[in-house]
């Protein structure tokens, strides 16, 4: 091997290693969530595979809080963009439940009431588009509204929409409105509603009928007691 070749190899390797050693250490920078691409452009870029593209976008969004060397709390994300991403994913794959799970169980759990309400509102809007398949996310949103936000009026609105728009949902979900009314002190309304459910034969399970009948009796007694207290 001629000595100039050795010299060139060693000199270039040494210079390169020295240059890299003197370079500053990389710093972690938190990147803001970008705007999602238009669904039609994503569909074209994915060569006509919208479902696979939706799945990849979902995993990208889910992992966005974990960037190289830095972790971003969900509450620091721009929720308008988060909502746009979730909407884009649903536009590409309408059958998936993943975006609704993320909205209800991840992004709505932040300690920021306005962001929680924004997510719950998005879940509600998406529920109205496909109530038979998406009722369980609105059921979770109902519980979130009642127990985390303390907004029983909002919880009642959601529970009423489940009962009205999702007849295929299980009875516990369709009966949530009754128990929310009871919690709101609207005993009479709750009794009438529960009585109506029992009378119309919507509830068929004997054990469930027995439980709800007992509950109705308790509500009626509670209503009578509160009426007699008011009288005196």
């Amino acid at each position: 091997m001629p000595w100039p070749v050795w010299a060139l190899l060693l000199a270039s390797l040494s210079l390169y290693v020295a240059m890299r050693a003197m370079a500053p250490a990389p710093l972690a920078h938190a990147a803001a969530l970008p705007h999602p691409a238009d669904p039609e452009r994503v569909r074209a870029a994915s060569l006509g595979e919208p479902i696979a593209a939706a799945q990849l976008l979902t995993l990208y969004l889910q992992a966005f809080d974990n960037q190289p060397g830095i972790s971003i709390p969900y509450r620091d994300l721009d929720y308008n963009r988060v909502t746009a991403w979730l909407q884009t994913i649903l536009s590409l794959d309408a059958a998936t439940q993943y975006p609704l799970l993320m909205a209800a169980h991840l992004y709505a759990q932040v300690p920021d009431e306005s962001k929680q309400r924004q997510m719950l509102d998005w879940v509600h809007r998406k529920f109205t588009e496909d109530p038979q398949r998406r009722w369980r996310w609105l059921a979770h949103a109902t519980l979130m509204a009642k127990h985390r936000l303390g907004d029983k009026a909002l919880a009642l609105r959601y529970a009423r929409d489940i009962a009205r728009l999702a007849p295929g949902a299980p009875s516990w979900a369709r009966q949530m409105q009754v128990f929310i009314l009871e919690d709101m002190g609207e005993i009479e309304s709750a009794s009438i509603l529960l009585g109506g459910l029992l009378a119309t034969g919507e509830i068929r399970e004997p054990s469930e009928i027995r439980f709800l009948t007992q509950r109705l009796e308790q509500m009626k007694k509670a209503a009578e007691n509160s009426a007699s207290v008011t009288k005196y």
């Binding site: 039609e40 452009r41 569909r43 074209a44 994915s46 060569l47 006509g48 595979e49 479902i51 696979a52 799945q55 990849l56 979902t58 995993l59 889910q62 992992a63 059958a95 998936t96 439940q97 993943y98 799970l101």
Partner: protein, 256 residues
Amino acid sequence: MTQQIVTIARYTLLEAVRTRLPHLLVAVVMLFGLIGIFVGAIAITENARIQAGTYAASMRLAAVFIAAFHVLASVSREFNDKGLDVALALDVPRSHYILGKLTGFLTVGACLAAVAALPLTFFVPLESAAAWGLSLSLEIGIVIAAALFCAITFRQLIAAASFVVGFYVLARVLTAVQLMSAHPLTGADTPAHQVTRIVIDALALVMPALDGWTQTAWLVVAAPDWSSLGALLFQSVLYTALLCAATMFDFYRRNL
């Protein structure tokens, strides 16, 4: 006549085996299967759905390109090694040569599709996996016919490969491009847009809309009607016949 076609097809199959194509296919299936399992593992819900979707989308692309480049490499090698000259010197009609090669390559493509669809039977119903596999074999068949046409016409591997890649990508995105050109955000009345729209619509008349073949929705939502698969079969046979006729036309007019 048929004997010559069958013999050429048989040797085409033998070449595929001897060039380690099955080994490559198995390696690719395992790779994308592992990627699908990894992607499914990091999802917090719909794990099987994401596994099937990721594997199907990537394996579809890989199977098509493996088939296309195998055809291009095989025909290019045959030209360079003068195997074609020997075959034609044995008084094999040019049409029989093309038909024999196409039959062999289509058989290779069908085997590729079957192996690619096999892992899906663990994640999705058998009917869905079968429909997906059948459609993939039809899609690969169209691409094989296009690759054979390009290999005969261009005679240069890079040019032929570029054309096949461009053809396939355009066929996959054509529907989306047509929709975007029909409903632009701005500039709908400009002459440039009108010309673009005419060109895209003209292309749509002569190219298959391959986004309708081998859909991932068949695996993760619901299996297709067999009548719609029948329509795809008819389109695939017709387009393959068109490409085969174009290949024969170009092959006959060459001075060899």
